[in-house]
Symmetry: C2
Subunit: 320 residues, 2 copies
Amino acid sequence: MNKLIEIASNSNNIAVTSHVDPDGDSIGSILALGLALKQKYKNVEIFTADPLPARYDFLVESKYIKRYEDVKDKAFDLFFALDCGDENRLGKSIDVMKKSKTVVNIDHHISNTQFGDINIVNINSSSTCEMIFSIIKDIGLTIDQEIATCIYTGIVTDSGNFMYDNATDKTHLIAAELIRANIDKQKIMYNLYQKKSIKNLRFLGYCLTNMEIELDGHLAIFEITSTLLDKFDIPSADIEGIVNYGRDIDGVDISVTIREESDSKLKLSFRSKHDDVDVRKLAELFNGGGHKKASGATLNASLDEAKALIIENAKQFIRR
Amino acid sequence: MNKLIEIASNSNNIAVTSHVDPDGDSIGSILALGLALKQKYKNVEIFTADPLPARYDFLVESKYIKRYEDVKDKAFDLFFALDCGDENRLGKSIDVMKKSKTVVNIDHHISNTQFGDINIVNINSSSTCEMIFSIIKDIGLTIDQEIATCIYTGIVTDSGNFMYDNATDKTHLIAAELIRANIDKQKIMYNLYQKKSIKNLRFLGYCLTNMEIELDGHLAIFEITSTLLDKFDIPSADIEGIVNYGRDIDGVDISVTIREESDSKLKLSFRSKHDDVDVRKLAELFNGGGHKKASGATLNASLDEAKALIIENAKQFIRR
């Protein structure tokens, strides 16, 4: 960490960013690290390629996160890429990375390609936020209440509220420290999980009623057309959790949502609950990636073609 | 705790039990305390008034838990009542309690009536299991892997996976210790949350599609008739979680399930997500009880009468 402190101290400006389609861990980690760096260093820019989903508005400093367009003309001495398995996850922000002097890659994905000049990768961490907690302390900065709130948000969203096996004893010790940093846990939980729209739950009701079960009960499929999203009047960001309902069925090894994006591409999300059912490898067959138990890909195909392809390819991954 | 050690040492036999309708915290706590006591004391009986739901079969020692009928003729020197707000929660096991020399009441309900000879009540504890963790250590017994598994089960089921505000920094520190005691966390999570039946999810789909919203969006109601349970072919124990889906809607202050029991009684479950919306008080209007944010009651009425009564009585508790 001494090297990181040295580089930061010698940098005139610092960028902190993460992947496209921001989620709790990417937003939490860039905000936490960015706010911490601002305690000591000047010209720290926190930015994302895509806008943030509204559910993270309760992270009060999130309104100061800039967009790619605001910083694209700058060249940074130090560039932090957080929660990105590879540099393409940065989307258009990769341009900014390429102009930067030193790239620091901090991530917890097993597929990480070590694309930075400095790579801090811990595949046993629940979240990038969990790593950022330690890094902030190691470089002598302070976990204040706001930073603790960001880190807690990333940990709970990436660990399924400590449910996934990536939540270790260390994760819980950090959670205890974050609570002692006086976070308003109820506010975080309320904003993340208790502000669902009625439309959202009606949509979930529809999806569960129409969920398809294939491969003798080993594969659950949710087909989400754009017509359906229009009918229920919900944004596509709101359907994130649907795929987990299929995963949690007894006997189901793989759950998948096939979702029509506005640009006629299909977005696939895969989930597994077993160590020996690796949906990252399944996603890789569609040029996607992710974790062993949570992965994704995009696909140019019709819904029916996609479904047939998924069923065919899933066969080799399900349990016998 | 010295007094407890003294009494236990001087007891010829010890009973450990909990409330009717066993749940994760009651089963986890009686098993954990009972197994721990067996390390040092003889003639320890763990029993319940009602059979255990099958989802807790993974707690391997649970098969040795006896029923009320197996122990009803015994008189115990020491009787532990766990997770019971009052003695009536024991159901028929209250007979056994009344014959016992010393009753120890260990609980975390705010409504606890201090009905024991010794009362250990901590309303700030996430669960009775969390209390049992400390008590086992305080009386010099050992948290082994099996006991840790039971305690972890009680903590996660009573704290909504650390989501509720009853999960404090202390809860997380204990969770870290339990993980270090080598529990198989994935096995616990799989058995608690990832073995749902397809019927169960179709039923959830139906409930969400037919959920009623009253009082200008402040009250969510799920009506669950016995016909419906028959149609979806699911046991009434499987519908526990439905009420939470209503609670988690933006603007909803109170969520309630009205469920027809086989004996033509109605069972009411209430949930709140706000500190200032106290559904324990609402449940008390129906002679029920529980916690501020999770309570219940039974009612002899028709479904329509019950619904009208709930709407009328809920008015004074919702936010304006």
